[in-house]
Subunit: 140 residues, 2 copies
Amino acid sequence: MTDDLSGPASVDQIQTGTLPIFADHRGSLGVLEFPKWLPLVPVRLFWITDVPAGMTRGGHAHKRCAQFMICQGGRIHVDTYDGVRERSFELKAGDYLHLPPGIYASETYIEPHSRALVLCDYPFEVDDYIDDREALTIRS
Amino acid sequence: MTDDLSGPASVDQIQTGTLPIFADHRGSLGVLEFPKWLPLVPVRLFWITDVPAGMTRGGHAHKRCAQFMICQGGRIHVDTYDGVRERSFELKAGDYLHLPPGIYASETYIEPHSRALVLCDYPFEVDDYIDDREALTIRS
């Protein structure tokens, strides 16, 4: 399966930052402008919500798909692995990660009502997923 | 200000539908594919969250910007007006509205944790907003 990877990715390539949030008594508004703040051309988005506090989701890498993952609220702990090294992040509302392909990632939704929005530059394909974390070590 | 409108819009042009939601014990995942299911080319997105239950937001039309508004959870009541006629919608998780420019819209976040994701085909510009609902009646 690793034959399809375009090249070894490194956790050092993961970019992180924070989008603007405008909050007042009416609630919060978070904003993302393309292409200025978005380092990929999205063809798909998905959002994750209603996750029981403490639950871990994800647990795969993508062969081709890069992802721009935004925390829309709560707190999300993200563990990443490139086959050699690990790197962890903690996202609160407005924080994002830009994950290149070839990075294994799993997300733990720490607080109740933690939720994520993910923009992807590749369509959904079952064959794009690498579910076996140890498959990445072949590349090291 | 109405000089900048590209043409009269009608509430009949508002499209509505429901995106796929995949729910299990780990939570819910909602998905949107471009351009297949998205009738505009997004250049910006924003999300609205942490709105007190019963609060109304929005309350404006856009001169040029079309919006694709998705309910990410809870329940949102949307009132629209084209200067002649009114039309109301109630969105639950996964439901969307495609609002053309020139439609006045206000959104009431009915339930706690009701939240919206909005994709826009025009950048943020203060001059794109029509805050005065009655300004639309000039066009009728």
